[in-house]
């Protein structure tokens, strides 16, 4: 049931958002091979959000053909260097960060929202991220924003009572444990691989 409603919500909110196509000339000139994902800066109230988000970025970046530095290893090394959160990391020069790891480019993410708003029959879960990819010489290669919301109330069965019960069940599940991960994964996949914000393919993905 949740899967169905989630699919419906994603179909409705997912690929429809219109954004300006980013200027990719610097990206295409730089041709980065490897990307370092650093812990995200967090403007949400959920202190766990940066850790959870970190686990969702490797797959879509690597599937675009880039070498992605091991996120858990990078995070641990940064902690050894005294950087325990993304806000600190983002204050460092990208050049220094790239050099420390031998990375071609660094991906910075800011979490604007990672929250659930509760209503009687429907809970709206929202994630909102700013993404910024910076080359090792400090040039900004790409930036984008992605916001995704999941409101389980889009699919009508034609039977009002059945709809009501379905909404109540989903809302109860959401209230018990809002699941941000699928939304975060979807946001990342769409912003990195979906138009108009997609990044160019990297060296391990044959040209399309």
């Amino acid at each position: 049931m949740r899967a169905i409603v989630l699919a419906a919500a994603l179909l409705l909110t997912g690929c429809a958002t219109q954004q300006a196509k980013p200027d990719l000339s610097a990206f295409n000139a730089a041709k980065p091979r490897s990307i370092l994902v650093v812990p995200a800066a967090n403007k949400s109230l959920d202190v766990d959000a940066p850790n959870y988000l970190l686990t969702t970025l490797t797959v879509p970046l690597a599937e675009k053909g880039y070498y992605v530095f091991p996120v858990h290893t990078a995070k641990t090394v940064l902690e050894q260097e005294g950087f325990f959160d993304g806000d600190q990391v983002q204050k460092q020069a990208p050049e220094a960060m790239a050099q420390l790891f031998g990375a071609d480019a660094v991906l910075y993410v800011t979490i604007n929202r990672w929250d659930a708003q509760y209503a009687i029959l429907a809970t709206t879960v929202t994630v909102d991220f700013d993404y910024r990819l910076v080359y090792k010489d400090g040039t900004e290669l790409w930036k984008a924003n992605k916001k995704m919301q999941y409101t389980p109330q889009n699919q009508s069965s034609g039977n009002p009572l059945a709809d009501l019960i379905a909404s109540a069940v989903v809302a109860a599940l959401q209230r018990a444990k809002p699941n941000y991960l699928p939304l975060a994964q979807m946001a990342n996949a769409q912003v990195l691989a979906g138009e108009p914000t997609a990044i160019p393919n990297g060296p391990y993905l044959p040209a399309n």
Partner: protein, 118 residues
């Protein structure tokens, strides 16, 4: 009706994502679980080991970062020997990782084995 939902779901999943260069196993989930509940780290290590073993046997390319993050989890659990072996494998498979992996292999001063901070 069920079929329509299934199709929609499949479209939602495949529509905007890419075709799939790698078999990731439970990599993301293992990390997520280890951040959520540090007690699951041992399971995560096991899961990654099993998955990597399967890929190696099937001669499939191990995705970027899997050897290294497995190695880091092992290092944090005090298993320096296996950690180093996995850092070497990451380096051999992915030349882009050479700088970081060399630092991890040679320079014990960089990330010391200590409890997971997350």
């Amino acid at each position: 009706m069920k079929l329509i939902y299934a199709t929609m779901f499949a479209l939602a999943l495949s529509g905007c994502a890419s075709k799939g260069l790698y078999d990731w196993g439970g990599y993301s989930a293992a990390l997520y679980n280890s951040y959520k509940d540090p007690a699951t780290v041992t399971d995560g290590v096991q899961q990654l080991q099993t998955h990597i073993g399967k890929l190696e046997q099937g001669r499939q390319k191990v995705p970027p970062g899997l050897y290294a993050d497995l190695g880091m989890l092992q290092l944090q659990a005090g298993d320096k020997e296996h950690a180093q072996a996995n850092f070497r494998k990451e380096r051999a498979l992915w030349p882009e990782s050479a700088g970081l992996m060399d630092a991890l292999i040679n320079n014990g001063a960089m990330p010391k084995a200590k409890e997971v901070k997350s």
